[in-house]
């Protein structure tokens, strides 16, 4: 029942609500009316019976007074007209029944006993005892007994009336409600219909029509607002979908092109990789070859250096020299040549690295040895010839190498210095330092065809206890971890601190000092160091 009610349309629900409300109002009212009517009816009935008793009593006074039983019974028989009167009795003044009436002739039932004036409803009857008064005196008592048919008739009658009223009211309520409920259910049904159209056909163009400005009107407004919102979102979504589709299409096209390009590029890349691999292989071969070449050059350089044995043969001089190659073969050169009581020291540094620099250093080595073996020449001639040989070879080799070169010749406690190279350091026996610049003593070899105008010489004493040191810039330019060069001052100081020691010890001390300074840094250039001490 309740489930069925729940699924009813708003229209029917409203009708039912109104009907129930009407019933709920009418039924208790009707019941109350019937109940009150019954109470009133009983009261009326009692009053009526009282009055009737009074009247019959009054009429019977003479009969009672004068003992006329027949007259009394005649009087009572008049009660036939009152069909609800069951029994009527008149008691004489002595309390004994004087006259009686029964609606149904029934002489078996004993007549009721006399009582004082009263009236009372009993189970199915109303009884009344009333004194019969005559001139303020009691002449007798009358008893009337009525059934409740009257009440029942009235109840039935009233119940039917109420039932009819209920029926008519309900019919009226239904008739009215089916008109009135349209004000509420009409807009709702309309709204439901529109909502059905919207959800069924996915048609967001439709709109509900507002009929009033009440809650339902607001509901319809809100509903329409929602539809507008949905529609605009729908449109936006469609637009976005179009845009997205276009975008996807264009992206797809781009991707296709990109893919083709990538495939082509892949092809190219494969080709490139092949080429690179080939080149790499070639480079590896070349590298191997070059490494081999460099190793050969390095060995050649080492082979050309004066040997310790040779240097120990030289009288009056304690000489110690060394050359260390950096990662690559450099262009360092030094040589010691003793001839006819004179000892010549050559030291030089070819610009650049690698095979070419190494080869030029070898050339210088050979040319110097040749010239010294052939000489003696004045130093101007010596350098001129040497420069011309190097210049010519560099031209021929078509490379732009050149070199600094100094020649130091010792004889009888004096050293003659010529040619442009690094400074020459001399620490005297007393520990004082002399730095002899060679900048004004020559010109880089191999740059110009004729350098005779630049060549000069200087004569410096070198006695017992003095130390002379020559070197290449690999020592002074060696840098530590923060990029600061070892420098000529540190070199000079290292020599000065050890000047009293043999040349070998001095050389070792300088190298130790250098190693300590640069720490774990690699040597970027070849280093050559030559220590000479008169002995």
């Amino acid at each position: 029942m309740i489930a069925r009610y729940r699924n009813l349309g708003v229209k029917h629900k409203l009708k039912l609500i109104i009907l129930f409300a009407v019933m709920a109002a009418l039924i208790p009212a009707s019941v109350a009316v019937v109940a009150f009517d019954q109470i009133a009816a009983r009261r009326d009935m009692r009053n009526d019976l009282d009055v009737l008793a009074e009247m019959v009593g009054a009429n019977s006074t003479a009969a009672v007074t004068f003992g006329d039983r027949r007259a009394a019974e005649e009087l009572l028989s008049g009660l036939k007209a009152k069909k609800h009167i069951v029994t009527a009795v008149i008691y004489a003044e002595d309390g004994k029944p004087f006259a009686s009436y029964r609606r149904k002739a029934d002489t078996h039932t004993p007549l009721p006993v006399l009582r004082s004036s009263m009236s009372r409803f009993e189970e199915d009857r109303l009884i009344v005892y009333r004194d019969i008064k005559l001139a303020n005196q009691i002449a007798g008592v009358i008893y009337l007994e009525s059934d409740l048919g009257q009440l029942h008739e009235r109840l039935t009658h009233f119940a039917w009336t109420v039932f009819l009223i209920l029926l008519i009211s309900s019919a009226l309520a239904m008739a009215l409600s089916s008109k009135l409920q349209r004000a509420v259910s009409g807009p709702i049904a309309h709204l439901a219909g529109v909502a059905k159209t919207v959800s069924g056909q996915k048609n967001y163009n439709v709109r509900a029509v507002k009929q009033s400005d009440d809650d339902l009107g607001q509901l319809i407004d809100s509903f329409n607002g929602m539809l507008v919102e949905i529609e605009s979102r729908d449109r936006e979504l469609l637009n976005r979908r179009d845009v997205l589709e276009k975008e996807v299409a264009s992206r797809t096209a781009e991707l296709l092109i990109a893919k083709e390009r990538a495939e082509a590029a892949n092809q190219t890349k494969t080709e490139y990789l092949g080429e690179i691999k080939r080149l790499n292989d070639e480079l590896k071969q070349e590298n191997t070859r070059m490494s081999t070449e460099l190793e050969v050059t390095r060995r050649l350089q080492q082979m050309m250096l004066p040997r310790d044995d040779d240097m120990r043969q030289i009288a009056n001089l304690d000489i110690s020299g060394c050359m260390e190659s950096a990662a690559e073969v450099g262009g360092d050169y030094y040589d010691v040549i003793s001839k006819d009581g004179r000892v010549a020291f050559g030291i030089g540094d070819v610009t650049g690295h690698g095979l070419e620099s190494g080869v030029i250093a070898i050339m210088v080595h050979t040319a110097v040895r040749t010239l010294l073996a052939n000489g003696p020449y004045k130093c101007g001639t010596f350098f001129n010839v040497l420069n011309r040989v190097i210049y010519g070879n560099v031209r021929r080799m078509n490379c732009d190498r050149n070199l600094t070169f100094s020649l130091l010749q010792y004889q009888d406690n004096f050293v003659t210095i010529s040619g442009q190279h690094e400074e020459v350091l001399i620490v005297r026996g007393n520990g004082s330092l002399e730095r002899h610049d060679t900048l004004e003593l020559g010109f880089p070899l191999g740059l110009e065809e004729d350098i005779s105008g630049f060549i000069a010489e200087t004569r410096v004493p070198l006695a017992l206890g003095d130390v002379m040191v020559v070197y290449t810039d690999g020592i002074t330019e060696a840098a530590n971890s923060v990029g600061v060069a070892f420098g000529i001052e540190r070199l000079s100081e290292a020599v000065r601190l050890n000047h009293a020691r043999p040349s070998e010890a001095i050389r070792q001390a300088v190298l130790v000092s250098l190693r300590e300074y640069i720490g774990d840094q690699c040597l970027q250039d070849d280093i050559s160091l030559l220590v000479i001490k008169p002995a």
């Binding site: 003479a62 004068f66 003992g67 007259a71 008691y91 002595d94 005559l134 001139a135 005196q137 009691i138």
Partner: protein, 176 residues
């Protein structure tokens, strides 16, 4: 209450069955009737001089009641009026009373009596067969052992005595 009145008033109906007591009972009943007539009868205002004037019941001729009538009305009042019982000997005396019982001893002089009473507001009660027909107002008539009434409404009207319809309904009406 009822019991008290039962003792005071004995109705003829109860006594009519006993034949032995009938003679005595008859006048007992008639005494009660005389008393009760006052309740169903109205006299004109001139009949009394004041509201407390007694209702006088007179017996004319040979008194058959003995003391029964006096006993009957002893101590009783009706609407503030006490009762008085008198024995009268002539019409003139009777005229000043309210109820006059004409004994059967007067049956021969009824015509003259009524002429003398004339229009006086006196309720005449008799026990002679033609009492009402002669011009008396109420007559006792014994019928099958019980007391019946005959009422001459014409006489009552002439003497300005109004008799209750209730009483009339019990009586045999004599129109003369």
């Amino acid at each position: 209450m009822i019991i008290r009145y039962t003792c005071a008033l004995v109705l003829g109906v109860l006594l009519s069955s006993g034949a032995a007591a009938q003679e005595a009972s008859e006048y007992q009943v008639k005494a009660a009737f005389l008393y009760n007539f006052a309740k169903f009868v109205e006299w004109p205002p001139e009949a009394f001089k004041s509201p407390s004037d007694p209702i006088v019941i007179a017996v004319l001729g040979k008194n058959p009641f003995g003391t029964l009538l006096a006993e009957e009305v002893a101590g009783k009042t009706l609407l503030g009026r006490p009762f008085q019982v008198r024995e009268v000997t002539n019409a003139q005396q009777a005229s000043g009373c309210q109820i006059v019982f004409v004994s059967s001893s007067e049956r021969k002089r009824l015509g003259a009596l009524f002429t003398l009473i004339g229009k006086s507001a006196v309720l005449t009660v008799g026990e002679t067969d033609n009492f009402a027909a002669e011009g008396g107002i109420i007559n006792f008539k014994i019928d099958a052992g019980s007391v019946r009434l005959q009422i001459n409404v014409g006489a009552a009207r002439r003497q300005q005595i109004r008799i209750s319809a209730k009483l009339l309904s019990l009586a045999e009406i004599v129109e003369k």
